[in-house]
Symmetry: C2
């Protein structure tokens, strides 16, 4: 059977002739995202054949130049013989880079959850246990628990079987000096002794914060003894090859063996990330006693092997919103098998633990009457609003346009992505900033927002998302497919990394409008439902994978964000991972996230006809009701004479 090798990791597999490259990659343990489900539509699974050859079943939107360079779609290319395939390696987005230290992470967060000293759920304690004495008859375990209770520890601690198996040797290795890892019981239960180690190992306490995203998984390794972030790793969720979004994963998981497969895939992703993040720091995964997982409700179900079918069916019922505290061994994580695994609680089927964890990075639910808004903008947009007295949440299916899917030139905020755009008002020629500084390959979320805003402000695009055929010179032209579908050329073929022009057409623009309309409508409707207005909001938190920067002014100009003074906004980046890390390090954060999840009232938009009219009204730039965007209206007036807005981003 031909040998297919995937670079840069040099993983390989022998597969039969005729196997798709996507399946060959899965066999080799390599994840290639295939958001369209392998239908050759999205172009996300593009790879480059660097040795040997493959049979391409379709061009899949690749230019002749790209085909010459060896580019192929993994989903629609078949193995014909030995080959080496270069995959586009996963690079964490800027958002994942945002978290650089545990201290920085807590900056700006409310005092109630600020972490000074790490307080993990499972914490180490140094003990000196006296040796056994003849005639006393106290077993090792009894002397251990006595030593614990007589030194201010818990009065009744129960040793786990793992701890008992190590106990006899550990007690005798260092004259009775021993380090125990203790976990307080769930719901006030008895304290458990998870592990025992000979000698003093209290300087080695490690924890993992895990964000299980539908597209991307990310882990932070934290040195809990010194409360600092050691490293972070991210990669595609291995389930990506089995469907791009939540609904396709739920459908895929219907037969029990496929639910088991999805669980295995995400565990493989996580366990590789754990091994990778530990290695450079001389930390063994087995030394990790604490894990916090944040993910949306479906991701949590798939990770735990819970049937997600009823999440998708009315009345949209998860098996569990707040999973009990679990052991890493039963979850399947390759850390200490007795490690405590805490899962961030969900509010409902479409407002998950990623959101409640993310809320820890905000002042929502702080005492007082200030009205605060949290927006997590992804394929699903989740909106939470509230004061110290009440909290309300909803979710809207926004589509993945800002994450690089559903827009032909779209890509994640990885090297080669245009992340910022400004137009010359005279020539309509764009100047762009590219992640990594090289030649551009596509446009990420923040670049799309810039582009939409600049096109509209410079009059090349009307409020309904139509390009003006008679403005912008050659840059605006019909697409090859349809004379009625215009496109705007951002980068000509000659200047592009792929050899194909980077363009945005009116269909792409409609997808972007649908996404931004869904987000805005969800927030507006939720406030309306309780008789409030977006203008009453005193603080807005924005989370999502747009890239390193989010231009707030331009996000308002396209009507994605409400028209509020810029100082009321905070851009959080990947708040789910940051929130998981806060839960890892702070007992107050763990209490607070549970309390918040309980307090949040979940609003089901699917069943509310008012949502559709809000949504339809928001499908314009910035909105059909311009009175809602007074400063944008003013800026649009000025834009005719002024230069396009200077590049001014909100850095997370």
């Amino acid at each position: 059977m031909p040998l297919i090798t995937f670079t840069p990791d040099n993983r390989s597999a022998n597969v039969a002739v005729g196997t798709s490259l996507l399946d060959a990659a899965a066999r080799a343990g390599v994840t290639i995202p295939a958001p369209c489900g392998g239908e050759g539509v999205c172009g996300e699974c593009r790879v480059r054949v660097t040795q040997g050859t493959v049979e391409r079943l379709q061009r899949g939107g690749l230019s002749p130049a790209e085909l010459d360079q060896g580019w192929a779609l993994a989903c629609s290319s078949r193995v014909v013989g030995d080959a080496t395939i270069a995959i586009v390696p996963f690079s964490p987005t800027g958002a994942a880079q945002m978290v650089t230290s545990a201290e920085a992470q807590t900056a700006g967060t409310p005092a109630t959850v600020r972490v000074v000293r790490a307080e993990p759920l499972a914490a180490k304690r140094l003990l000196r246990v006296p040796p056994p004495e003849a005639g006393q008859g106290a077993c090792d375990c009894e002397r251990l628990t006595r030593a614990l209770s007589s030194t201010g520890g818990p009065q009744h601690a129960i040793a786990s079987l793992d701890a008992l198996r190590e106990l006899a040797a550990a007690l005798r290795a260092c004259d009775g000096e021993i380090t125990v890892t203790l976990a307080e019981g769930d719901l006030g239960g008895t304290t458990e002794i998870l592990r025992v180690e000979p000698g003093d190992t209290t300087a080695r306490q490690f924890g993992l914060a895990i964000d299980v995203g539908t597209t991307t998984c990310a882990v932070n390794l934290v040195d809990l003894a010194h409360n600092r972030l050691l490293g972070t790793r991210a990669n595609y969720n291995g389930q990506l090859a089995r469907g791009a979004d939540i609904i396709s994963r739920i459908n895929y998981a219907r037969p029990p063996e496929r639910l088991a497969e999805l669980r295995r895939l995400v565990l493989e992703t996580l366990n590789r990330l754990v091994a990778g993040v530990c290695a450079p720091h001389g930390c063994q995964p087995r030394e990790i006693d604490n894990v916090v997982v944040a993910g949306n409700t479906t991701m949590t179900h798939l990770l735990l092997g819970l049937d997600p079918q009823y999440i998708r069916l009315a009345p949209y019922t998860p098996t569990v919103n707040q999973p009990p505290r679990l052991r890493a061994g039963e979850v399947g994580l390759d850390v200490s098998p007795s490690a405590c695994v805490t899962v961030a609680p969900s509010v409902g089927s479409y407002v998950g633990g990623d959101i409640t964890a993310g809320l820890l990075r905000t002042a929502l639910a702080e005492p007082g009457h200030d009205l605060r808004l949290f927006l997590d903008i992804g394929t699903n947009a989740e909106v939470v609003v509230g004061t110290g007295e009440w909290l309300m949440a909803c979710a809207a299916s926004a589509g993945p346009a800002f994450e690089g899917s559903g827009v032909r030139c779209g890509m994640r905020a990885t090297p080669g992505a245009i992340e910022r755009v400004a137009l010359d008002p005279a020539t309509a020629a764009p100047s762009v900033a590219v992640v990594g500084g090289g030649r551009p390959r596509g446009v990420c979320g923040s670049g799309m927002i810039d582009l939409l805003a600049e096109l509209w402000l410079s009059g090349l695009l009307d409020s309904s998302g139509k390009l003006h055929p008679d403005r912008g010179g050659d840059r605006i032209r019909p697409t090859k497919d349809s004379a009625r579908n215009l496109e705007y050329e951002i980068v000509p073929a000659a200047a592009s990394e792929t050899g194909a022009a980077i363009t945005l057409d009116e269909r792409d623009i409609q997808n972007l409008l649908r996404t931004k309309a869904a987000v805005y409508a969800a927030g507006a409707l939720m406030l309306k439902s309780i008789g409030l207005d977006l203008n009453a909001v005193t603080e807005v938190y924005v989370a999502g994978g747009f890239g390193r920067y989010l231009d707030l002014r331009k996000s308002i100009q396209i009507g994605l964000l409400p028209d509020l003074p810029l100082e009321r906004f905070t851009y959080l980046g990947n708040s789910s991972l940051a929130g998981a890390q806060m839960m890892l390090c702070s007992a107050a954060a763990r209490r607070r996230v549970v309390e918040m999840a309980r307090r949040i009232t979940y609003l089901e938009l699917n069943v509310d006809p008012a949502y559709m009219s809000e949504y339809t009204a928001a499908l314009f730039l910035p909105h059909t009701d311009l009175a809602r965007f007074p400063t944008v209206q003013a800026a649009a007036g000025r834009a005719k004479s002024d230069a396009p807005g200077a590049i001014s981003g909100a850095r997370p």
Copy 2:
């Protein structure tokens, strides 16, 4: 490689030429006891070659007739080609048959622990959980716990991951009718939901009582819904091939991989017994939610994978006397993985959970001043004495003479064992009763006691254990090996199943005397140490694997039991298994066994020089101090004229 097949179970293995039959049996998953550790001494591993041939390295005490019939010692026979080997199948002793129903088992036990309705640790409860409602947002788990608390169940129950994985489907299979298995938390912890099943399965609740003996393992399957014993199974402990007694097992387990091997061996034995006891009753092992294990401290350590080394080393310290409540999955038992496993608590290294469980069958520790004595007579003899105010225990190494080892003609109380003996005073000819009624193969414990007493009472044996060469006619003669070692022929070669005479020689008698002396001395010394006398004992409980019957009068006549009125004795048989079953069925029994284990003061005989003098004084029939055995002295006087005592046994 030659194929070796073991009958009657037809298990087979391909092994290399030169492999010992003992190792071939282990490879085939067949346990052949080898108490002497494979040295060809004890003859316990005798098998019959029924097809093919093997190379015998030594005769191993087999007669020419036996060799002709194909008998061989498995430990000292080597594979030369394909062969079929008949092993002596394990038959439960009469003692195991004693327990015939849960009701009968509790008869005669104190009211405080008498079981009326089974109260297992993990109990089922039928619930009706309302379906999810739109706009309510309650997840499956929340509706379940609400249904529990609103119907008088626990206010805060935590679902296990196993339960959560079944929950969504179970709730929707029978319109919300669901059976939950609940276990109250350890030390007052939170109640856990172990399992959920669709519909009403409350009529199917099963539990296992397990006795893990050094030689034999036994399991009782109990229908907890109807509080009745369904079946019982017993077999050799698979560890038997790795050493006959506790000390040799501890030594064997020194390298961690060997500890793991011993754990695997006993788990294989238990899991086979579980499968076997379940099958005839249409019960799936996965339906078992409750397990109670009773065993000596070393057996418990080996089963749980705990290092037993310090049990053997002064000051004799187990890792744990009272293991926490465990899950069957972590223990390795093939029942429901979330089943609660309770281990009967030990008192110390040599007074284990088999003893504390056995005490549940007695009135020891009942309120009041009555002095009661409990004797568990096995390879190790454990003695417990006490009143309602105090309890004291000790252990003595008694040797396996009454269990069929260390005595050439000894065997367990299986078919072919002589279980009762009476001598004709005129001819010294014995009349015997054989288990199963066929031709005799050897003598079990109860037969040995009868034989010793009858030989002494009829004047063929003196008090020091010497046979009279000039009495008994041809039946008393020198052994083939030594003219100075006399033997008594119980059954001539022509009447024996094996074709060899069944005889008892003076070395055998010394072994029996050492065993009975150790038991008596332990009890006498313990009472003496607190200024009390054996005569003060109002009730004596005798446990052990002698056989179906134990002749109390003769046990007193040889000085094994103290000379007390017969009505003060109760013979319990396998009290460990019976006690484990009481713990399985009764919450009071579970509380009581823990409380008793805590109250017992452990006396270390090894370090007491007074024990050696007590022991030496007891090495006579019945004792050097005849004043301690007044009725025996009187009987011995009468015996010269009377016929030997009629066969009158104490049935357990």
